[in-house]
Every structure is written in C-alpha cells, then in structure tokens.
C-alpha cells in the first residue's frame, strides 16, 4: 500500500520536528519525508491545515465486550479508538471474565485482531479475579503479551499480599499500574467539596488519592518496581508524583482527558454523564493537572474510556454507573485546551503518543524515515456535531452529546494501513 499525505504540519516531540511538508508511506514504513512534488501514490491526501503526528497509545481504556456487549463490543470500541487517533490500546483488566488468565487475554487479543482497528497491549490483573488475595500468573501473562499488571479499581487491603505482588513483579522486571484511590475513602460518588455538600452526595476526599499514592510509592521504592499511576485527579496527587520523581524514583503517571477538561461543578443538577471514578475535582486541581503535563510530572493523557448503555446512566445519581465514553470527544477536548491556551498540540502529542508509547512499549516511535508508519492525521478546524449518527462508540454516555465540536481525526494509519478515515 502506498499513501502520500501532502502539506500537513508534521509534529514529533521526540525529534522536535514541527514542519509543513509531505510524507510518503510505503508498505508498513515511512518511506520519505519532504517535498514529494511529482511523486504519486495509490492513495493521496491533501492535508493542508492538518496535523500529522505519531499515532496515540491509550494507557487506560475499557473495551467491554465478552460479557458486557450491551455497553460496547471490541469491534465498536476499537473502531472508536482508531477514530480518536489511537493505534495501541492498554485495556484495564476489569473485564468480565477478569483478565487474569492467558485464555482470556488471547480471546480479547483475537477479537481485537479480527476487528483490525488497533493493536492490543493488555494490562493483566495483578491478583486472581482482582480479589487481592492470590497473585496472578504474572510471568506467564507477561509472556502472553501483557505489558503490565494492575488491580484496576479493586483494593488489595492486605499489605502482605501487596508486598508479595510487588516482590514477584520485581523478580521479572514487570511494570505495575496503579489506580490510586483508597478503597474505604473512595466509597462516595463525587469529589468531597462544596458541590457534593450542597447536593447531598457522598464525597471522596483528595486524601483517598494521596494516601493510596503514598502507599504504592513506598512499595515501589522498597521493591524497585517500575510503577505507573493511572488517572491522577488532584493537585496534591500531582505534587506527590513530582516529589517522587525528584527523588529519582522510576515512576510515570497519566491523567484522564475528562479530568483535564471538567470539574465537579459539571455534576450540578445531578448530571450522571459526569459521574466518573476517580471523581472530577475542583478547578484548582484541573489547573494543577495541566501544569503537571506541562512540566512533565504527568507523562501521559489517557482516554479512560468507559462506554455504558443508556439505562446505566438513567437513575438517581448514586445509582448510576460511573464512567464516561471519551473516544468520540477526545480530539475536540484537546483542541478546546489548545484554544484556551492551556495546552499546545506538541505537548498533547507528547502526552498521547511519545510518552505513552515509551511507557507501554518501552521504546519510542518517531515520525522518521524507516519507522513503522503509525500515524494520526488531525483536522484541528473541522466543525461537527456529536450525536448518535456521528459517534462510533456504542457508549451513550457522551458528556458532550448534541454539542457542536471543533477538530476531528481525519485518518489513522496502523503499520502502513489505514485503520480509520473520515
């Protein structure tokens, strides 16, 4: 397959490339970068005004399927991921059945491969059935292609078990992913602040996050495990990560797109679309998360995509399922942050692609000649409306449903093949 993308703004934070030029993709590799006047290809794309960058890698997503097809299928959600510019996905292990066995991982892998939209980099369960009592077969799961281990949103209350998890992971040099929220303090429905107080909803204090981060940092420090924190939410949490990195700890962290863009006040009027876990916090936290992306404390932005059927969100707030379907909104949300001056596309690409690739694949991918052609083409000025006919995710829990949005992915290329085009 031969593709030429003409006149795009090429951004690669690793090579510090930021140039308007042409790119020729041949086979699965980048063949040429530069003026391609006079050269033709089977597929040619006029990309003036658009951004071409290394494709995105999602460090935290939920693909549903297996036993939750009412919420989304692997085919629908990986297609939605491709439409958001992702070529590689690290799904959370809280699948049904749980991703704690090679058979489950291979079933998910084969479904993802059959759909053909993305590559799978699974994060497996740290303990069997995520129950926090027995270790999963980490080494075998690693051989089966799992890039890390997490207990998702489930608690390992026994410190002895948690220590064994870290010790065993350290034995084989495995990465541990952490969703940092203390189980007991995290039983509420939203951030513990003025909005929760006025609405009479149970609050989750910031200490639920900081206590858990501190606990896991101690285990990481003690065992030397390389850890990654998913979905930070608070200024205090960012400060803890910054401090640990300054001490030379081998850790990384990400933030969900929703936490970069929304705050707890969005829940006014009991809007269940903003019911997410961990919870949306206050504006000062959101600003601290953005500052964390800018100064490198937070390495990556993840989708934290969690599709739901409409009934899951149609109940009194406390009875609704937490989670937001974010794939269809991700690029417009980033564009919103760029337009408001909170982010640049270069920083966003570094967080969505360069750094997340390094964390998940332990290597870098670059927009250079000879590299695998995993690329995303974004039209930052495209105007469109998010609705049932324009969205690809099966999740109806789209916070910006029926809103006019700006920016959209025009093309996603996975190993030289077009996995999504608009």
């Amino acid at each position: 397959m031969s593709i030429i993308i003409r006149g795009a703004r090429l951004i690669d934070p690793i090579t510090q490339l930021d140039q308007v030029t042409d790119v020729h993709i041949k086979g699965h590799c980048i063949e040429t970068i530069g003026d391609l006047t006079g050269i033709n290809a089977a597929t040619e794309i006029d990309a003036k005004g658009m951004i071409l960058c290394p494709s995105f890698v999602d460090l935290h997503t939920c693909l549903r399927d297996l036993n939750q097809v009412q919420k989304g299928t692997i085919a629908s959600e990986t297609q939605a991921a491709a439409s958001a510019g992702f070529t590689h996905l690290c799904p959370s292990p809280d699948t049904q059945p749980c991703s704690d066995a090679g058979s489950v991982i291979s079933m998910i892998k084969s479904k993802v491969a059959a759909a053909g939209f993305c590559n799978l980099l699974p994060v497996a369960a740290l303990t069997k059935d995520l129950k926090g009592t027995q270790l999963s077969n980490m080494e075998s799961l690693s051989r089966a292609g799992c890039i890390g281990f997490s207990n998702a949103g489930y608690d390992i209350s026994d410190n002895t078990v948690l220590l064994r998890c870290y010790e065993y992971a350290a034995t084989f040099g495995l990465k541990v992913f952490v969703q940092a929220q203390d189980h007991q303090l995290g039983r509420g429905q939203m951030h513990a602040g003025p909005t929760a107080t006025r609405m009479g909803l149970d609050g989750i204090p910031v200490i639920a996050e900081t206590l858990s981060i501190s606990r896991h940092l101690q285990f990481m420090q003690h065992t030397g495990v390389s850890g990654h924190f998913n979905q930070l939410t608070s200024a205090a949490g960012v400060a803890l990560i910054r401090q640990a990195k300054a001490q030379g700890m081998n850790i990384t962290a990400d933030v969900g797109i929703a936490h970069l863009c929304f705050t707890d006040t969005a829940i006014e009027g009991y809007s269940s679309q903003y019911h997410v876990q961990p919870p949306l916090r206050e504006e000062s936290d959101r600003k601290a998360l953005l500052a964390g992306i800018k100064d490198g404390t937070l390495d990556a932005i993840c989708s934290a995509h969690q599709p739901h059927e409409s009934a899951a969100k149609c109940a009194p707030f406390a009875a609704t399922a937490s989670g937001m379907a974010t794939y269809d909104m991700l690029v417009p949300l980033i564009q919103g942050l760029v337009d408001s001056g909170d982010l640049t596309w270069t920083l966003a690409i570094q967080a969505l692609s360069s750094n997340s690739t390094t964390i998940a694949l332990r290597k870098t991918t670059m927009l250079t000649v000879g590299e695998d052609a995993n690329l995303t083409l974004i039209d930052p000025s495209h105007l469109w409306t998010l609705n049932a006919s324009s969205q690809l995710s099966h999740g109806t829990n789209q916070a910006l449903n029926h809103q006019n949005l700006k920016a959209r992915v025009r093309l996603t290329i996975k190993s030289g093949r077009i996995s999504y085009s608009m």
Partner: protein, 341 residues
C-alpha cells in the same frame, strides 16, 4: 442554580414541582408561607376539607420508611379532596426487579397527577421530575442527604409565626448536619428569606466538607454556638452513627451537644426550640426542654399539614397551567371559521 429554578417553575414562574427551596426566590418562598398560613385555619374548622384537588390523583411513593411525613402528606392530600394512593414500595414491583423508571412510567400511565416521593438517593426527586414524568407534579418528601423541602418550609412557617421577620434572627442548627437533608434546605430557605446569622453546631465528624460555602458559620462548641440565638433547631441523631465511628457514645454526645435547660440559658430568653422529629430524648434533647414552654415541636407537626397542603395545591395548579399551555401550543385554536351550511 438556575436549572433547579427552571425545573421547579412553569414558564410563567408558577411552582410546578417542589424539590428544594434552592433556586426559588424570596417571593415564591413567602407565597408558600402565606398559602400555608391560610391553610392553618382549615385544620381548625369542623369540616377540614377544601375542594382544591378534587378529581386529582396523588400517589405517595415512599421508597424509604416514614410514618410521620407519609401520614401528614396523606392527610394534606385528603384535606384538599384528592384521591390518594399510598404505595408500599417494599412490596411493589421494584422489589421484583422492576426499575424505578419503569415503576414510575406505569404509575404515570394510570393518569396520576402528583407524586409525593421519598427516596434514599440524593437527587431522586430531581431525576423523576426531569427525566421520567415531567408532566406529573413532583413533591420531594426527602431524597438522600440532599433535600426535605416541606420539612424545611414548615420550619420556616413555625419561625415566621412565632418570630416574625427573618432578617434580625440568629438561628443555630445543632447536631448531625452531615446526614441531614433537612439542614441543607433550612439553610437555603433561611438565606433566601433574609436571615444572615446561621450557625451550624456539631463535631467535625458530623459537619459536611466546605459547608461554609453555603453562607453559614460552623461551631464545635455548643455553648458559644447557641449564645444569643433566637431559634435553636435540634437535629435527630441516629444511633447507628455510633456504630459507624462518627461518634464515640450517645453519653458523650449528649454531654457535649445535648440541649438541656441549663444550656438553653445561653440562647435569648425568648428563643424557640425546634426539632424535625422524631426526637431522641436524652440523646440530643432533654425531656424538660422538648416538653417545655420554648418548645415548638408539636406546633411544627400541625403546621406541617398546612404547609404540605400549600405546596401540593400550588404545584398542582402550576402543573395544570403548564399542561394547558402545552395543549394550546400543540393544538392552536383555528383562526378560520368554517362557513355554516
């Protein structure tokens, strides 16, 4: 919160649901109190009925246990001549797996005109009014920790009837603020009606985070908290709070925050004492105070029926106006007359 006001009012500004005093203006709250005042008289008449809701169907939907609130709502609806259906939800379809949504849609299909809803989840009444049955008037009879607007407004009625204007008053609300849906609505109503000195008294374990953002002051010390106040509102302390580590013991709580005759001296000599009930004698209030001359506890119960009659009649009237407006919008009268044959 304009969305709450919009949800509760018709396009012409009449009450159509009553979910919380939050978002309603002073004029509306005073109209509710004035209407309730007029119904207080009805309770004293030999024939205690008025025909305002004749032919209308009111369904009491209590997803949580309640004796007092449920019976006063039932009585209020009957005094307004409504047909009243009270559903015991525990034995109804929801216990067989039917969702709240489906239960309500079924009741709506029976041409109910008003739902009086008590539910354990904050925002449940709001959800029903906005998502499920916008054309049925919803009266919130308590949702989670969020709101209990008729209780809060009957407390306002009690204060107004015994203290007059709200502006000069100092009001202390004492006890389990954290779990109290009444306290939140009392704060909204007192603020809107002009009261500027609202004090919350209790230990930090029972004080919601950032509650000061609602325009109140917090006090850990009972004596200084009620010093010089005109109104002391005591909240019920549920005994399970001790089991879930909010408090060490009922004895220590009573010693620190119980309202005794001795402690009441700190308030103004003519201060009134209120309690939403049911009271725990010897835990949050001493019997001598509960039964004493400054106690308004039984007056509150009587005013409760009048207040509920007021909001039910107002919301039903608003809802009927809204329905008529919508019907007219859907079927505008024809301007062309058919020629006579």
């Amino acid at each position: 919160m304009t969305n709450l006001a919009n949800l509760q009012l018709t396009e012409s500004g009449e009450l159509r649901h009553f979910l919380t005093p939050e978002g309603l203006d002073r004029l509306m709250l005073e109209r509710i109190l004035d209407t309730a005042d007029s119904f207080v008289v009805v309770g004293n008449q030999e024939v205690k009925k008025v025909p305002l809701l004749r032919g209308r169907t009111v369904v009491n939907l209590f997803f949580e246990n309640s004796t007092r609130t449920r019976s006063t709502f039932e009585l209020a609806a009957k005094r307004l001549s409504a047909d009243v259906l009270t559903l015991d939800i525990k034995t109804s379809a929801t216990s067989k797996g039917e969702s709240l949504l489906d239960t309500l849609q079924n009741l709506r299909a029976m041409h109910s005109d008003m739902f009086v809803v008590r539910h354990g989840d904050s925002g449940a009444a709001h959800f029903i009014a906005s998502q499920v049955t916008p054309d049925v008037a919803i009266i919130n009879a308590g949702d989670g920790r969020h709101a209990h607007p008729t209780q809060a407004m009957l407390d306002m009625l009690t204060i107004r009837r015994h203290k007059g204007q709200f502006e000069p008053l100092s009001v202390a609300i004492v006890g389990d603020i954290l779990h109290s849906r009444v306290a939140r609505d009392q704060i909204h109503a007192l603020k809107t009606l002009g009261c500027s000195d609202i004090r919350l008294v209790g230990p930090n374990t029972l004080m919601p985070r950032a509650i000061e953002s609602m325009g109140v002051t917090t006090h850990n010390n009972m004596d200084s908290g009620i010093a010089g106040v005109d109104v002391v509102i005591m909240l019920r302390l549920q005994t399970e709070r001790m089991e879930s580590a909010f408090l060490p013991s009922a004895g220590e709580y009573f010693r620190l925050y119980g309202l005794t005759t001795e402690r009441l001296v700190q308030a103004k000599p003519d201060a009134i004492v209120m309690h939403p009930g049911p009271i725990n004698r010897g835990i949050e209030i001493e019997s001598a105070v509960a039964d004493g001359p400054q106690s308004m506890i039984l007056n509150q119960v009587g005013y409760g029926i009048a207040l509920r009659m007021a909001v039910m009649s107002m919301a039903m009237s608003g809802q009927m106006q809204q329905r008529q407006a919508q019907a007219q919008a859907n079927n505008p009268p024809s301007l062309i007359r058919k020629p006579r044959s």
